[in-house]
Amino acid sequence: MTNWSPTVFTRVMLALAIVLSAFPLYWMLVIASRTNADAVAVPPPFLPGGNLGDNIIAVLNNEDAKFLLGLTNSFIVAATVTVSVVIISTLAGFSFANLTFKGRNVLLVLVLLTMAVPLQQMGVVPLYRLMVSLEWTGTLKAVILPYLLNGFGVFLMTQYTRQAVPMELVEAARVDGAATLRIWWNVVLPAVRPGMAVLGINTFMLMWNDFMWPLIVLTPDNPTVQIAITSLNARFSTNYTLIFAGTALSIIPLVAVFIAFGRQIVGGLMEGAVKA
């Protein structure tokens, strides 16, 4: 089995990949923990300084930065969309995978077609004008609503359900007199949870990082965290330490979740990638 043990070259390359992955984040901490003059020094500093706490407090105390609001808003947006997408996709995926009905294949092909449409870019003008006429610009509703559907999610859950829930299981439950929704709840949901987790993580990340649409439809006084960083960047153009402390702050929640659930996320991603 020597085939499966890594060569020295492989080890070195892996180490390099890890260093490169971590470096920009390390660099963020270096600048965030230093003074403004250090940030533009040549040669640049390579070790963290002692001002991280002060700089983070400065960001949090800065009314204009709106960081806590941005973090909260991003969480509300990402979580709401995630729950919606996961539920809608699981229901539809179950229907497509385990139930027989007229027009099923046609509808499934329709879902596949909708996946190729870059809705965010395609719909930006009418959606914006819709939000203006509803007077929803500047509110989180405007960010959440267009994302409640996700063709990829339906596709993923259909594929996943097909593999994870054999038809016999559904038939057996029916014979026992269970109604469709009960089958979904008792039989399907427990079996497709890993798929839901993958979809949930993917959707959450996608929404957390969403930038173009919030940039258009939100205002800096009610931002998501990405918009808060952008405004911070625009308002404090020379205050690098403040900007970097803010950006560091904006990634802490996700990194913390990632570390806490690392095994599940890595495993879930891999399982989802194979089964879907």
Partner: protein, 446 residues
């Protein structure tokens, strides 16, 4: 390496539970923006007036004036939202979007001269300040400054804040290092004309490495353009009928040629003004001079930080005089508190306020009473080595010729300056730059 299903379940359900909790808290669309808060309900809840501004450094110089107001008015609190350093590229398009969509704009918003043409053409965007008795302010301003804030149908929408005037800021310490005179009168005497300015620049760069003569092409292009405009009927990109005249107005070509010359001689640090690299360049001493309308003093001092104190000074501008910039404050119709917003706009443009902004930061008042204030006329600026800025700018205020800017000035200005910057950073060849400038201007004017 598959995860156990139970663990996946835990992760997913924790996420879902958290999400549901938050989502249910946020029913009603979440996010409370101040503008959607109910109108002032008695004295208990203070009204917050959001004042939106742009510009680098200390920009409108409102810091102290706002602190003072907030201490004296518990019922109306001012909150300044400095949105970005860049007017044409970011602030103004964003503001137009908010004004047309009906949400997002502050209760009081700053407008640069370049945006006033469009603002004036859209009376429906603004509250009429006459309704709050502010037509009484007419006598406080020069006629042109006042008229620019009045729409064709007689609506008073904008009150004048500052005017540009013109000077040149320079690094006295670096001048000394280059063996040049560093005292401001002698420095002024070095460059009666722009040709001499360029010659001194070459001399400077021969002595001091790592520092360029001036920041980039765009700042001095603008200074030069306004001087030339004064010789060509006080118009730049548009004539009084709003026809695009970029290719016909010699002022534009002359200013372009000047910018091109400076760039080709390598006298620029190739930094575009109001970008973060430009701001950091001020701090790092990347350039020795920068064109300085009065409000630029606050930009330079703000960008340079305390480390620049005493190193900078102010001299006369080559070619003599000129005006660039100056702003107005307006109250968007979408404001939920137009009455209080009008009070704030009124306060921020009062003679006393404008005078203190000048002495604190350097933005020259447009309010004539403030201009005549002895405190203004005798003002010195500590950051700029105690330069007698009152004397320097009062002169240009008196001789100021207002330049007409068209409805789409901001859009065209952005397009033109992008070409001029592109020429400096090497992305537009020098011999093709003029043609592209004209083409892009036509395109931007739509």
């Amino acid at each position: 390496m598959m995860i156990s299903k139970r663990r996946g379940l835990t992760a997913a359900s924790v996420l879902a539970a958290a999400a549901l909790t938050v989502a249910s808290c946020s029913s009603g669309g979440g996010g409370t923006s101040q503008s959607s808060a109910p109108a002032s309900s008695g004295a208990a809840e203070p009204v917050t007036i959001r004042v939106q501004t742009f510009g680098g450094g200390s920009n409108f110089g409102y810091k102290n004036a706002i602190t003072k107001w907030n201490a004296e008015h518990k019922d109306i609190q001012i909150k300044e939202e400095h949105l970005t350093d860049q007017f044409e590229q970011q602030y103004w398009p964003q503001m137009i979007q908010w004004l047309t969509s009906g949400t997002g704009a502050g209760d009081v918003v700053g407008i640069d001269e370049g945006g006033m043409g469009l603002a004036k053409a859209h009376p429906e965007w603004w509250a009429d300040l006459k309704e709050y008795g502010l037509d009484s302010r007419k006598a406080d301003f020069p006629a042109w400054k006042w008229e620019n804030g009045v729409t064709a149908d007689g609506k008073v929408f904008g009150l004048g804040t500052d005017i540009g005037g013109m000077s040149l800021c320079y690094r006295a310490d670096l001048f000394k290092k280059a063996g040049l005179p560093s005292e401001r009168d002698k420095v002024s005497a070095l460059w009666p004309t722009w040709d001499e300015f360029i010659k001194v620049g070459q001399q400077f760069q021969g002595k001091v490495k790592d520092t360029k003569w001036t920041d980039g092409t765009n700042t001095l292009y603008q200074v030069y353009l306004y001087q030339e405009a004064a010789k060509n009927g006080n118009v730049t990109y548009f004539d009084q009928q709003n026809n695009l005249i970029v290719d016909k107005n010699p002022a534009v070509k002359n200013a372009f040629d000047f910018a091109s010359k400076m760039s080709q001689q390598g006298l620029t640090a190739k930094l575009r003004n109001f970008t973060d690299e430009w701001a950091a360049g001020t701090q790092k001493g990347a350039f020795a001079t920068v064109g300085c309308p009065s409000w630029m003093l606050g930009v330079v001092s703000g960008n340079a930080g305390d480390g620049g104190k005493g190193k900078w000074d102010v001299a006369a501008v080559p070619g003599g005089g000129g005006n660039w910039g100056g702003s107005w404050l307006a109250v968007p119709k979408q404001s939920k508190h137009p009455k209080e917003a009008a009070m704030v706009a009124d306060y921020l443009t009062q003679a006393q306020t404008e005078a203190s902004i000048f002495t604190d930061f350097g933005n020259m008042p447009s309010n004539t009473k403030a201009q005549q204030d002895p405190a203004v006329q005798g003002a010195k600026n500590e950051f700029f080595n105690d330069a007698p800025i009152g004397e320097i700018f009062a002169k240009s205020a008196a001789s100021l010729q207002p330049v007409f800017l068209g409805v789409k000035h901001a859009q065209v200005k952005n397009a033109i300056e992008s070409v001029i910057q592109g020429m400096d950073d090497g992305s537009v060849p020098y011999d093709k730059a003029w043609q592209q400038l004209v083409d892009d201007a036509v395109k931007a004017a739509g």
